[in-house]
């Protein structure tokens, strides 16, 4: 493992790569800190920036953007009480209370340091388990892959808020959107509506940018009260000795919990932060302080979140399956670079595989190095009024959408998906599963076709192969669990809290 990591670091640590990791972290945080812009939106907005680079550099920059965006989200959650996405909701609970009490600096510091520690541990977990899981994955046939993808798609809806039918429908809609374009096997054009620009399928970036970026802007303009707020002052940016002592066990617990839960497909990220918060509230000696700014309530979930976002790379790197919307974006970026993530990547492109793992750690390190000293800059960014931000974001989106293929059609596509995204918000659909379905749909079709070809059209192949049967069974259990009312209510309560 150490040899492999050394290979990774020798790939990742070049002057150019470090530079791009730095830039990625910087702009990732700068966009992620903006109120109402979560990590998914941030990454989809910034994706086009990485396309001109070679694969490893672009992945390193993306990793920087990813961690930057997440930390930026925590910053606005702590200082403004404005979570950019579900995982940051937990951070607001104790983090913003700490900020109100004048300890914003401590909350930001513990979030950064806890995340760094969790990231380091989780990187090692990824490095250790990657090759093992890859070996397992190599024994998968098309039937196993199909069942696993089906399980992943179902799992992606388990933690989604609201109606089960609606989240499943989003998945299927995503799969349907993924069908647009040329059928790989027969060369048949499907659902292109006569647009030659759609022969290669619906654009991934226009889809993500439209649904997460443009639609959110319209939404934010509509509800001005949700984006206003006064940033608390940061105060002293260091932990006192007692705060440090209190945070350490929480960080350790959060790291363990996050590393484990992050591997789960679907809601691993959100689940790990909630679970960590619940755990801290149960076991902490200072549980009476919870609700009024307990440092454990920031340290645990923030570490869990970062550990989970790290280990959620495991299913993506070993199986090529995204565990959440961010991973779907990462896979989209890799595929635009001409790389198909999956079990063969580790053997065929070891430098990329290990370079990526090393770059995760570098991204985490960059975060500590640039974010703590620059926290003043982020605070001032929080003070830029939204009315100046959104036209700027729109301009960058427009140029970004155009620059992927130098095609105005992609700009129009983005606008159309902006409309779609807004309609989905209004109809109370959750858009994240759609993106996962869009990425996994074409793979699912491919494996289904191959499995059925090998079995001469016999569907029982999916239950006759033991691993495949296990995946299907797990999927069925997940579906059944969502239908059972008591579990549903518990889940809704946990998500609503």
């Amino acid at each position: 493992m150490l040899e492999n990591l050394a290979l990774g670091f020798s790939t990742a640590v070049t002057f150019q790569n470090l530079g791009f990791a730095f830039i990625g972290c910087l702009i990732g945080t700068a966009i992620g800190v903006l109120p109402g812009v979560g990590p998914v939106a941030t990454i989809s907005l910034l994706l086009p920036l990485t396309f001109g680079l070679d694969p490893i550099t672009s992945m390193i920059m993306l990793a920087g953007i990813y961690y930057g965006a997440q930390y930026g989200g925590s910053t606005s959650a702590i200082l403004l009480n404005l979570p950019g996405e579900v995982t940051a909701v937990v951070t607001t609970l104790e983090g913003h209370k700490m900020a109100r009490a004048g300890r914003a600096g401590a909350a930001l510091a513990v979030a950064a340091l806890g995340s760094f520690f969790a990231g380091t541990v989780a990187t090692l977990v990824v490095a250790a388990s990657g090759p093992v899981l890859t070996a397992v994955a190599m024994s998968f046939g098309p039937a196993e892959y199909f069942s696993l993808i089906l399980l992943g798609l179902i799992a992606a809806t388990v933690l989604a808020q609201g109606s089960m039918f609606k989240s499943l429908a989003m998945i299927v809609l995503g799969v349907a959107l993924g069908l647009v374009g040329t059928d790989v096997q027969s060369g048949q054009l499907r659902f292109t509506l006569g647009f030659p620009q759609l022969f290669e399928g619906v654009g991934f970036v226009p889809l993500a940018m439209g649904i997460f970026g443009i639609a959110e802007i319209i939404r934010n303009l509509e509800c001005p009260e949700q984006r206003s707020g006064t940033a608390s002052s940061v105060g002293k940016l260091w932990l006192t000795r007692t705060e440090f002592k209190r945070a350490v066990p929480s960080v350790l617990r959060g790291t363990a919990l996050g590393s484990l839960l992050g591997i789960l497909p679907g809601g691993g990220l959100a689940l790990s932060t909630f679970a960590s918060y619940m755990l801290e509230r149960k076991v902490s000696k200072y549980r009476h302080e919870f609700g009024s700014g307990a440092i454990e309530g920031v340290a645990g979930p923030e570490s869990a979140n970062n550990a989970a976002s790290q280990t959620s790379f495991i299913p993506m790197l070993t199986l090529g399956l995204p565990a959440n919307a961010v991973m779907a974006l990462m896979i989209g970026a890799l595929m635009i670079q001409g790389i198909q993530p999956g079990p063969r990547m580790i053997a065929e492109q070891p430098t990329l595989f290990w370079g990526l793992i090393a770059s995760m750690w570098i991204g985490n390190l960059m975060l500590v190095i640039i974010n703590l000293p620059l926290v003043g800059v982020w605070v001032s960014l929080l003070k830029v009024p939204y009315k100046y931000l959104y036209p700027a974001i729109l301009v960058f989106c427009g140029i970004g959408a155009y620059s992927i293929n130098n095609s105005v059609f992609d700009v129009y596509q983005t606008a159309v998906f902006g409309l779609v995204g807004y309609a989905l918000i209004k109809l109370e659909f959750e858009p994240a599963p759609l993106l996962i379905g869009f990425v996994l749909g074409p793979m699912m079709e491919e494996y289904l076709k191959r499995a059925m070809l090998l079995s001469h059209g016999d569907v029982t192949v999916f239950v006759e192969r033991p691993l495949s049967a296990v995946f299907l069974l797990m999927g069925a259990i997940a579906l059944a669990a969502m239908v059972v009312p008591t579990i549903r209510r518990k889940k809704d309560q946990a998500l609503a809290e």
């Binding site: 429908a169 349907a176 499907r190 939204y386 009315k387 036209p391 301009v395 155009y402 105005v408 109370e428």
Partner: protein, 153 residues
């Protein structure tokens, strides 16, 4: 719609059913093939039938769930933002990035009533400078910055 039903879910279900029907009708032109040799239309058939079933599920749950009215749409913001984006695209290649940026800022600016002329002008100038530096000078994007016809004058 009356407020006795969950109108949001019924509208959602109806949308899914329409999408499924449109998808299935387009899918008629593609060969289905057989289970062992699936044609281009096989997977879409599965997907859209599933979508239709889920659409029915959502519709039915709309009649059974707690009453809920449809949310109002922010038409003004929606139209202005999407129009700004589309016009930006239309101007980009032929008239240049500068014109696109100005159009985007002005039109999208109308969506927020608290904007001032001075603020928007300042924002446009700042964005013009940044975009010229980053995209035209730095990344050397293929689109012209200033309107090309100015070169011929």
């Amino acid at each position: 719609m009356s407020s006795k039903v969950n109108a949001t879910d019924i509208a959602s279900g109806a949308m899914l059913l329409v999408l499924a029907a449109v998808g299935l009708s387009i899918n008629l032109q593609y060969p289905l093939g057989t289970a062992s040799r699936m044609g281009a239309g096989y997977m879409p058939l599965i997907a859209f039938v599933t979508l239709g079933i889920l659409g029915m599920g959502v519709t039915v749950s709309g009649f059974r769930g707690a009453p809920r009215r449809l949310e109002n749409w922010a038409w003004r913001e929606l139209v202005l933002i999407l129009a700004a984006f589309a016009i930006f695209g239309a101007l980009l290649e032929d008239i240049g990035m500068a014109a696109g940026i100005i159009a985007m800022v002005v039109i999208s600016g109308l969506a927020d009533r608290t904007q001032t002329l001075k603020g928007l002008a300042g924002l446009a100038v700042v964005l013009l400078i940044i975009c010229w530096l980053v995209f035209s000078w730095g990344l050397q994007i293929r689109v012209p910055f200033f309107p090309p016809f100015l070169n011929n004058v």
